[in-house]
């Protein structure tokens, strides 16, 4: 997970810009008008968002249109995914532990007596 992504999104105005871009790609002028922020300020925030890889810009007709990039958001999701996988692995290990001789007398009995149970 990239700390710059969080830093970029941690500023309230930038977060508003990102929320706006979630709806559709927009030009600097569009963003300034909808959020009633001065255009130079919008440009400044967009630069931070571009540098963090959150936003990218491309020419459409004669306008420069900003839109979100999917990657940083997927990264955030994959971090939680790794937490989920950790627990999944952990519960599998519990199974192995309970089956092992170290799993206490009951588990030992279970293992020794497996034919009775399967």
């Amino acid at each position: 997970m990239d700390a710059t992504t969080f830093a970029a999104l941690g500023e309230p105005t930038r977060l508003r810009i990102v929320e706006l871009l979630r709806e559709q790609p927009r030009s600097v002028g569009d963003i300034a008008r909808v959020l009633t922020i001065r255009q130079p300020q919008v440009s400044k925030h967009l630069r931070v968002l571009r540098e963090a890889g959150v936003v990218t810009v491309e020419p459409v007709a004669r306008r420069r249109v900003h839109h979100l990039r999917a990657e940083p958001f997927e990264q955030i999701g994959s971090w939680v995914g790794s937490f989920e996988r950790l627990w999944d692995t952990r519960l599998d290990r519990l199974d192995a532990f309970l089956r092992s001789a170290d799993g206490g007398p009951a588990a030992t009995d279970r293992r020794d007596g497996r034919p009775d149970h399967t």
Binding site: P12, L94, L98, G104, A107
Partner: protein, 168 residues
């Protein structure tokens, strides 16, 4: 600023274990047993303290071993407080999990609820992990965007894919 992270994210796990309910309960509540299975391969549990009473604390720290390469020596603590204990039946604790030294960007706050039930000579467990918060405000916002607006992001992916195909 209004937090975008509005709802908890719930992870649920169900497992069936070939062991009596008392053994499974002990595996979750006795440090000498828990430390045997808590860490994935190539990690060790270096600290494990369990004060098994409501209001008591649980602390488990796992540490990456040499085979984890660049992660070797990294420590991942989980610290929690029990909110519910019904022996051999259910337990719950509110906890934080993080990567040591990167608490700011890695902390996940979560509530774990474990329910045990006997199924013949097997034991069923139902573990739900409710993620209630992520470290700082910035992260909460970011996660809210991921979870609270997943549909929009799906739309974004479609949009990006379509745009890719439409490109000259």
């Amino acid at each position: 600023m209004r937090p975008l992270f509005r709802r908890a994210r719930e992870l649920t796990f169900e497992r069936s274990y070939s062991a009596p309910i008392a053994t499974v309960w002990d595996a979750w509540t006795r440090p000498e047993m828990l430390r045997e299975w808590w860490g994935p391969d190539n990690t060790t549990v270096t600290d494990c303290e369990i004060d098994l009473r409501v209001g008591g604390d649980i602390l488990v720290v796992m540490e990456a071993g040499e085979k984890m390469g660049k992660y070797a020596g990294t420590r991942w603590p989980m610290a929690g407080t029990f909110s519910l204990i019904e022996p051999h039946s259910r337990l719950a604790y509110d906890a934080r999990s993080w990567t040591e030294g990167e608490e700011e960007t890695t902390t996940i706050e979560h509530t774990n609820t474990l329910i045990l039930s006997a199924d013949g000579d097997r034991t069923l467990i139902d573990l739900s992990i409710s993620i209630t918060a992520i470290g700082s405000g910035a992260k909460m916002a970011a996660f809210g965007m991921k979870w609270g607006y997943k549909a929009q992001l799906d739309g974004l992916e479609t949009y990006l894919a379509t745009r890719g195909h439409a490109a000259p």
